[in-house]
Amino acid sequence: MDSSQLLGITTFTYLFSTILYAVIFIFKAKKLGTPATVFTVLAFLVQTAGLLLRWQESYKIGYGHAPLTNMYESVVFFAWTIILMYLLIEWKFKTKVIGAFAVPFAFLAMAYASFSTGINKEISPLIPALQSNWLLAHVVTCFIGYAAFAVAAGLGIMYLVKNTSESRKTTNNESLLGTLPPLKVIDDITHKTMVFGFLWLSVGIITGAIWANSAWGTYWSWDPKETWSLITWFIYAITLHARYTRGWGGTRIAWLALFGFVSVIFTYYGVNFLLSGLHSYGSN
């Protein structure tokens, strides 16, 4: 068994998790709740083993670094943090339907990592700029933030779907969307998830700044990646202020959760391909 096999399996197990949660949502198959959770936890453990194995393999080759150093590894780690975040939310808020809106993000990430032809899966050595203890702190904190924003976006979609049907007055407890939690609850979880993400994004930006200072002597150089992370930070800062002080909620916050996540994806992915800068090593 090597790490690429384990991570390959993960892609399909997350697909299966997605299907299970979709079935719970669509067919109101509440009995499948526990199996879906158990299966997702198992899939998560398989992926964890895959990541740890890849870490160990890099030491065997003699490179010795955490599996967080190129696009493939970061996408896989993104999927891992999304599932972790989702499982924590399921455990804390005891709502399983959210899985139908959050787990697909992890599956899509894994599918992209596994099947995209433009992505290099090799374990490659670290270039000098990446040889730092800050690598782990910076990448992990950023991705916890990204994953929280991904789940918040899933919750935002959930809110908008339910809200649209409620405003058409088609929802009752018998209908499809009746299985979704009440709008107020979705709104509350969306907000809490964004708050959590905002804290970690802040830590991620700060660890990045400290790292940049120890590598180049400049903690902030308005490199496109830095700038976009700040733009994302502004968007969530606006969202949180609008909620705390102007009482925004519901549809507007749901849209902002989606809009913020678009900015996250651009920061994470778009910048590497569309703009040039210090983070360009992330593009292979």
């Binding site: 000098p128 040889q131 730092s132 802040s202 700060i206 120890s214 903690y219 606006i238 102007r246």
Partner: protein, 439 residues
Amino acid sequence: MKKKNPVFSFFASVKLALFTLFMLAVTSIIGTVIPQKESFDWYVQRYSESTAKLFEVLSIPDMYNSWWFLGLLGLLSLNLIVCSIDRFPGVWKQIKADNLANDLSRLAKMRLSEKWDLDKTEAECASELTNKLASNGWNSAQRKRDDSLLIFAQKGAMTRTGVYIVHASILVIFIGAIVGELYGFKGSIMLPETKSTTSIFQFGSGSPIDLGFEVRCDRFDIEFYDTGMPKAYRSHLTVLEDSKVILEKNIVVNDPLTYKGITFYQSSYQGYQDFILSVAEKNTDTSESVTLSFQQRANLSNHNNTAIGIINAEMRGQSVSRIKIWFKDEQGPASVFWIRAGDEVTVQRADTEYIIGGKQMYATGLQVAKDPGVWIVYIGCGMMILGLFVAFFMSHRRIWLLLKEEHGSTSILLAGSTNKNKMGFEKTFSSLADVLKSN
């Protein structure tokens, strides 16, 4: 209450904060799409003459330092300051409030409240309840109110300051950045091996900056992985004052050298066509280095009739990987051998042994920075994380107990409130109520 003037209200408003953050987010995009700090001609070529001129007028080529962008940051700072002046006193009043002076009729109307009776005197109840509170981490105070006794306990009063810590942290970071801008510098130097310098060149202007000491590059090496990817760039630097060695360090990317507040970062390199050869004789312990061009030879000055030369060299990309060396002393025929660039070998001659090393000559590219504001920025960052944590995950929780004795029995009213996380506090409140009610 002081009367608020409209200008003050405007600068204290959340509307302004939302507007400023929105403008910062939107305008920041410009600099990620239009390449920054290029020359005027570059923009003319990439866009057009008129566009380039428009950019010039709007300071687009250096937008993050432009008057309007800094103006937005200034507006944000002003907003933060005025907003804090406006709101903080109120928050402080809540923190320092005398919660034992509360209007008693309001207690029963609180969202969280419970009532029960105990067949004990007020004093007995009070000591029992305060003990139970204390063992659950609630330190209480009490005061006689008319014919009843009010007990109050709170947790996390200071957490109300969380938001203001975050706001202050942003200002602290800005102050750190300004200090760095005023009292620091950023520059670079391309320093050939064996050479030293007492000044470096400022970024942008290119004007020399005096270091106040001398820094020498003794040696620069590149290590490669088997794949041919660079593994490490390493410069051996020596700091000298009055020609005396003060400090020596091997620097690599991510591990710079700092002396007197000035830090030298490994950032680039440049390969020369020359070679540096070193010869050390084991017996006499004499050593020396020479700099040679390709296929040149030179006589050594410390060793009689001894000469060394470069016959050949192999390249890997822009760097020399192997060198073929020719070496001859007073005895016997010349030794000819290959060595890996940067390595040393022992060469056996008739009466003695030499350790001979050879490498391509490089200049190391150093970024040089002095930033006395960086610690202020880091303190601001620490404050921000602390403040966000406090603001998001901690709350000010307050509980009151109102005891009233009548006919040997005491009626007890428990009430509680929190400023955040209402659901979490409901659980805390009901389990605390259970503890207080139990015998």
